[in-house]
């Protein structure tokens, strides 16, 4: 299972890559493995203002639909357009080309509560 060190994580199995006040968001390798082959991704429109934990996207596999929450509060900047034609990128490269959306975060203090790679790994190992 891939858990890149430079990313932050949530207990809902989302990852966040922070650069200043911009954040890339996706679902973790563990999450895509649990979901199985992903066939459809529904993403938020640019400009959508969201609160932390609001459900903003969904990832549909042959087994189930997974809801994706906003890991931080802010405004959606861009959705990953490549996923509409190739949702399987989320399976193939969950932390890279399979990113879901970017956002401009409004409450930087929230980021402090995100899990680091070691904490996320422990969370997954505990059955979370």
């Amino acid at each position: 299972m891939l858990i890149p060190k430079e990313l932050k994580y949530t207990k809902d199995h989302e990852w966040v890559r922070l650069e200043g006040d911009k954040a890339w968001v996706g679902i973790t390798d563990h999450a895509q493995k649990q979901l199985g082959d992903i066939v459809f991704v529904e993403l938020p429109p640019a400009g959508k203002v969201v609160q932390q934990r609001d459900l903003v996207a969904s990832v549909e596999s042959v087994k189930a639909v997974g809801e994706v929450g906003a890991p931080l509060s802010g405004e959606v900047l861009e959705a990953n357009a490549a996923l509409s034609g190739s949702p399987d990128l989320v399976n193939k490269d969950p932390h890279g080309q399979g990113w879901l959306f970017t956002m401009r975060i409004s409450t930087p203090t929230e980021a402090g509560a995100l899990l680091d790679a070691a904490a996320y790994e422990a969370f997954v190992a505990s059955g979370g």
Binding site: S61, V62, K63, A64
Partner: protein, 480 residues
């Protein structure tokens, strides 16, 4: 696999079509020339033996309750008595036009009225509509009823939340959201039942109600059911019960006595009318006293010995289905109720619960059982940790080689690698034993010959289908 167009040759016919009569010729003249088709339809050109052989071959590849055991959790795929088919085909029901005036179809209205009275008695609830066409349609109807009740009390803008245990049927949150409610998930506790502390924490003056699946999707009966409905009522909300699992307590307990305000009944599950490809469903909804004024119109009412349609319900949510719902399905359900009687209905729930617990006891040593409670009509195993990379999907595919329809898999979501098994009460013990032996044998194969599972099915007309590709690149029409 061939289609009918792969057979035959130009000019062959299986049947002689009648010539157009004078009436039809005249009708043809009424259609403007530019709207008429220029070429004939491309019908298959096959002889009768080719036609019969093609469809007989296809039917032999099919699998249904009439060919084998079908333990599909949450779906209640039980035997449908054949007497029902004869009764639904009686010309007095089958040949009725839905626009006949009430005085010309008293028999059918009497049947609907009588079925409604039985269902009210079975559920212990004073009001009913027979209109909804299936379970999720019943849910939607129920949510509309709650919305109209809130509107009538001037609380619609304030009470916006519907609470949903994470062990509810997957359609429940969709139904609540479609009516405009916000869905709030309530976690289960270690027993697989509603976490009462979480429920208390979520209740407030913004809650419209709760949707409970009874028993829940783990096949577990909520021991605190009366506490739950009391808490919701005390907070000013209403209680919706998803009744798709009514077969677990039919004739033994009544949702009305447990505090339900809305309850939907899947006639095509509990009352054994055909299901899936076998026919349309029916999802009547029963309600408590507070919701009676809002029921769909028209109500079928009786005055003395005659039946009429009562449209005088100013607070009604209106119609939810044309005419009277799926009437012929209701004919079959009444046949079931009358054939079984009170004792027979208690035997249904007793048999369903016994079969589920029997299978659970046989299988729990070989598969994980995350919630080991007394099962009602179904139970949920987990294929987690079978080793050698074997997953529940592989177990399900391998079961096909053993001649069984696989159970529901990957639902409910609160169990990883779920296998949800509902045997129903109509299977003999020998079938349950053979099925258990198959699953035990598969668990052994997973340890010793995991490739047998990963490559399954082996004995079917087509091997493992690429489910992801079927969704990503659907071919929805045949080019010919």
């Amino acid at each position: 696999m061939s289609t009918i167009y792969d057979h035959g040759a130009p000019g062959r016919q299986a049947v002689a079509l009648p010539q157009l009569g004078k009436v039809e010729q005249g009708l043809l003249g009424a259609i403007p020339a530019d709207l008429r088709r220029r070429d004939g339809p491309r019908l298959p050109e096959v002889s009768q033996p080719e036609l019969v052989r093609h469809y007989t071959a296809l039917s032999r590849m099919n699998y249904g309750v009439d060919t084998g055991f079908y333990p599909l959790g949450s779906c209640t795929m039980k035997h449908n008595p054949k007497l029902h088919e004869d009764l639904a085909r009686l010309p007095g029901f089958a040949d009725l036009h839905p626009l006949l005036p009430p005085e010309a179809c008293q028999g059918a209205l009497a049947l609907l009225w009588e079925t409604a009275e039985h269902l009210k008695g079975i559920t212990g609830m004073p009001g009913i509509t027979l209109q909804p066409a299936a379970g999720a349609h019943g849910e939607l109807t129920g949510m509309f009823l709650i919305k109209r009740w809130l509107e009538d009390r001037g609380e619609l803008g304030r009470r916006t939340k519907i609470l949903l245990p994470d062990s509810a049927h997957g359609t429940n949150p969709a139904s609540a959201a479609m009516v405009g409610f916000t869905v709030v998930s309530i976690p289960s506790d270690r027993r697989g039942m509603v976490n009462l502390d979480a429920l208390r924490g979520a209740l407030g003056s913004d809650v419209a109600g709760i949707m409970l699946t009874v028993p829940n999707t783990l096949g577990i009966f909520e021991e605190d059911i009366v506490t739950i409905t009391d808490l919701v009522h005390d907070a000013g909300g209403l209680c919706y019960f998803d009744g798709a699992n009514l077969n677990a307590y039919l004739g033994r307990a009544r949702p009305g006595d447990m505090g339900a305000d809305v309850f939907h009944i899947n006639l095509h599950k509990t009352f054994s009318t055909p299901h899936g490809g076998g026919g349309p469903g029916a999802g009547p909804v029963t309600v408590s006293e507070v919701l009676v004024p809002y029921l769909p119109v028209p109500e079928i009412a009786r005055k003395g010995e005659t039946y009429h349609l009562d449209w005088d319900r100013p607070k009604s949510i209106g119609r939810v289905h044309p005419y009277f719902g799926n009437v012929l399905v209701i004919v079959k359900a009444l046949a079931y109720i009358l054939s079984l009687g009170d004792e027979g209905m208690r035997a249904v729930s007793g048999g369903a619960v016994l079969a589920a617990n029997y299978l659970k006891a046989k299988l729990k040593g070989a598969y994980k059982l995350p919630y080991d409670q007394l099962a009602k009509h179904e139970f949920v195993l987990s294929g987690e940790g079978m080793g050698n990379g074997v997953r529940t999907l592989d177990v399900a595919k391998r079961l096909i080689d053993y001649g069984f329809h696989p159970p529901t898999i990957y639902f409910p979501l609160i169990v990883k690698e779920a296998l949800m098994i509902e045997p129903t009460e109509t299977e003999p013990r020998e079938t349950l034993d053979t099925f258990a032996e198959a699953l035990l044998s598969i668990a052994a194969e997973a340890r010793e010959h995991p490739e047998l599972l990963r490559e399954a099915p082996h004995e079917t007309p087509v091997r493992r289908l690429d489910e992801a590709r079927a969704v990503r690149e659907p071919r929805l029409k045949l080019d010919f």
